[in-house]
């Protein structure tokens, strides 16, 4: 029983009716010593991170205003108070902001030593992220979480035993879209991709997904944002979308400045999917099934904004560790790592199917939401797609094709 301000206010008028005494609960599951074991999470970000700079259109419109997902992690810590009470563990969250991206690994090492953190959530740009993940790849007393990057390469050739990925990879996202297109019978796809490396990679991922699920790439065209009439075949949406027969357009434009002008401007009346129109994400604030409204409201109350996919990733990273600590009754990182990748591990993702980590590359298995700006249209895996072991493994690079086989390493 708790007695706090709000409760006291309610208790006082009802003073005569008090039937209970305020006694602090001391569950018998707590450690024998009565002292809760500490378990610290460390959240690492970078000062002046360009990813969180407001991106402004020339008229001053703010089209992108990402917020660091530490609120997601903090939400999960708050939710874990009672679980901690029951397990005899006190979960805490420390936030450090690196001053520079140089020697990120050294800085993180010293912060881990200072805070005695056992789990680290990395919210860093790709270069310092790689430096930190590389330095600690064989760490067996600290576990790292990727809550930001979707690049498949991090889960393939650059995978590490100490690194767990909670955001879905690009390939998981494009597989989800491909399943949906296939289920609707929209089989011929026109791929439009910006010439930037990231977008070309995303288009490659989608092409692989299209092959996997039996879609046809009607054509693949690169665009260049701009108004140069000499390049109009690469910057005019009508021209870019003409002269091919297709059911739907896959758009790869991570920046979004060109992509937002593609829907409704196409030569043929066709829908747009990818980085605009119908988008595949780990989470969306309008998702209203499987308890999601409760999670969204909890987050919104705390952070005064909608929960993004990255916020959700921060939340699920903490929740996964808390679940592993509870189920294994241990705060030892080797034990927690084994628990996370065990076949029967289950963390509630609020997406209807419990999540677990793929033992071969430590990627969180999860359903993917396909949404517009204000509604979730479908949840993948789409009904009808099957898998020999786990239906969630129909999304992403599967065990047999994986370049990363952490499950084969001897301990």
């Amino acid at each position: 029983m708790i007695i706090e301000g709000a409760v006291l206010r309610r208790l006082l008028p009802a003073g005569l009716g008090i039937l209970f005494f305020a006694v602090l609960a001391q569950p018998d599951r707590a450690l024998a010593a009565g002292e809760a074991k500490p378990f610290a999470f460390l959240y690492v970000s970078l000062a002046g991170d360009a990813d969180y700079a407001q991106s402004k259109g020339y008229t001053g419109l703010v089209l992108r205003d990402r917020k660091p997902p530490i609120d997601g992690a903090a939400s999960a810590i708050r939710e874990s108070r009672i679980i901690g009470r029951s397990a005899g563990v006190k979960f805490t969250l420390e936030h450090v902001e690196l001053a520079t991206a140089e020697d990120a690994a050294d800085q993180v090492a010293s912060h881990i030593a200072k805070t005695a953190a056992k789990a680290v959530l990395l919210d860093l740009p790709l270069a310092p992220f790689r430096a930190v993940a590389g330095r600690f790849s064989d760490s067996n007393n600290v576990i790292f979480f990727n809550i930001r990057h979707r690049d498949d390469v991090l889960r393939q050739s650059e995978c590490a035993a100490s690194l767990f990925h909670v955001l879905p990879s690009n390939r998981m996202l494009t597989d989800a879209l491909a399943q949906y297109l296939k289920s609707r019978g929209w089989k011929r796809v026109l791929v439009l991709a910006r010439e930037a490396e990231d977008d070309q990679n995303l288009a490659d991922r989608f092409t692989a997904s299209a092959n996997k699920f039996g879609l046809t790439i009607a054509d693949r065209r690169a665009f260049v944002p701009g108004n140069d009439p000499r390049e109009r075949d690469k910057n005019n949406v009508t021209l870019l979308t003409g002269g091919a027969r297709y059911d739907v357009i896959f758009l790869a434009d991570g920046e979004g400045e060109f992509g937002r002008y593609v829907p409704y401007a196409t030569f043929r009346p066709r829908l747009v999917v990818g980085t605009d129109g119908l988008v595949a994400s780990a989470w969306h604030w309008t998702w209203e099934r499987y308890g999601a409204p409760q999670l969204n409201q909890r987050f919104d109350r705390r952070a005064s904004r909608h929960m993004s996919a990255e916020d959700w990733a921060g939340w699920v990273a903490v929740r996964s560790v808390v679940e592993a600590v509870t189920r294994s009754a241990s705060t030892d990182i080797a034990t927690i790592g084994k628990t996370l990748t065990a076949a029967d591990f289950a963390v509630d993702l609020y997406k209807g199917v419990p999540g677990g980590f793929r033992p071969w590359n430590h990627q969180l298995r999860q359903p993917i939401l396909l949404h517009t700006y204000n509604a979730v249209i479908a949840r993948a895996p789409i009904e009808g797609f099957l898998h020999k072991d786990n239906i969630l493994d129909s999304l992403g690079i599967d065990q047999d094709e994986s370049a990363c086989r952490l499950d084969r390493k001897t301990p």
Binding site: M1, I2, V7, R10, L11, P13, A14, G17, I18, L19, F20, F21, A22, V23, L24, A25, P27, D28, R29, E79, R81, I82, I83, R85, S86, A87, G291, Q294, Q297, R298, R301, E323, T326, A346, V347, D348, G352, V353, P354, I391
Partner: protein, 349 residues
């Protein structure tokens, strides 16, 4: 609901089954159903209105079914009505409205709103203490269980729970209250005399609702995402067994049990399997599934008639209620109700 089964078990003195039987002409006796109580036909006890109340979470209405299970009335109520419960004398019923932070009190006979308990943070479900006054409520967004006096309509106490508390079950002796925390995978055991949480029992993923066996030995709790029922031994407060469900043609992850109730004789349990669109029928002593009955989409709420011959199932995603014959284990009919039906009360005794 589980609470009803328990409540009935507690009020055997008031209950004359035979009287009930003949006072309600719509009951069809199908097959050799188990006649659980053969009391003298006293006839002095009110037989209830025969009305069946269904709370519709999304349309914020109560649907009232009358004789022949047809809709006789739809009542606009407070926002997002979910859990419901009879008052101790069954002349009133309580409706928890999550989005209005209140519990509305209705008169059973007139179906008029007669009162409100205000400032109840997001009530989801609740159970009434045998003293007929203390209502123990799960407050979903607040991560608390609160106790209100339904007579004075006053706040009495608050207990911290894990996130998203859901099912509430008070033991017939009134000593303990169990509250399931969906997000924490815990069943909190509240000692109502000491006024403290005496234990947090770790159960499987997403615990939802409870049922007590009539012998007072076992507490059944559904684990929605694990697709099973956990059985807790009430003496030791430890998990002793699980029952898994898997109707033919469904995948494990589609089996999401929510409501559970056990018959008065302690022989049979019904479990609503959510996304698997079936109700499981369980042999309680053997802890074995006897049958699966196809119902509507995402079945959650359950209620049995007093004679336990009919089972009502609220189907949240097909906006209807399926009525099952418990002797033949076959559906009798489906009745369209409001949007996202949640709970069911049957006023037949």
């Amino acid at each position: 609901m589980a609470k009803l089964a328990k409540e009935r078990a507690m009020s055997v003195a008031r209950l004359s089954c035979a009287a009930k039987f003949f006072a309600w002409p719509t009951v069809k006796i199908v097959g050799a159903g188990l006649l659980v109580c053969l009391g003298p036909a006293g006839g002095a006890i009110a037989a209830g209105t025969g009305n069946i109340i269904i709370s519709n979470e999304k349309s914020s209405t109560l649907t009232v079914l009358g004789a022949n299970d047809t809709v006789v009335k739809t009542i606009e109520t407070c926002a997002r009505p979910r859990g419901m419960h009879f008052s101790a004398d069954r002349t009133q019923f309580y409706v928890g409205c999550a989005d209005d932070d209140q519990i509305a009190i209705y008169d059973m006979e007139s179906l008029e709103l007669v009162g409100r308990i205000l400032d109840v943070e997001e009530p989801e479900t609740f159970d009434l203490h045998p003293d007929g006054r203390r209502l123990v409520i799960s407050n979903e967004e607040d991560a608390t269980a609160t106790v209100f006096d339904v007579v004075e309509r006053e706040f009495l106490a608050e207990f911290e729970t894990g996130e998203e508390p859901e099912g509430v079950q008070i033991t017939p002796d009134g000593k303990l209250a169990f509250v399931a925390s969906e997000a924490a995978n815990l069943v909190h055991v509240i000692d109502l005399e000491k006024g403290e949480v005496i234990k947090d029992i770790l159960v499987d993923t997403r615990p939802r609702r409870f049922a007590l066996t009539p012998d007072g030995r076992e507490l059944w709790v559904t684990a929605e995402l694990a697709g099973i029922v956990n059985i807790i031994d009430l003496k030791t407060l430890k998990l002793i067994a699980d029952i898994a469900f898997l109707p033919t043609g469904f995948r494990k992850e589609q089996v999401t049990p929510v409501d559970v109730l056990i018959t008065r004789d302690g022989q049979r349990a019904y479990v609503a399997l959510g996304r698997a669109n079936h109700v499981a029928v369980v042999d309680v002593p053997k802890r074995k599934v006897i049958d699966y009955i196809l119902v509507g989409k995402r079945s959650w709420g359950l209620a049995l008639t007093a004679d336990e011959k009919k089972l009502y199932v609220a189907n949240g995603l097909s906006d209807d209620v399926t009525i099952l014959d418990t002797a033949s284990l076959k559906p009798i009919k489906s009745v369209p109700v409001g949007m996202v039906p949640y709970g069911i009360l049957i006023d037949d005794h």
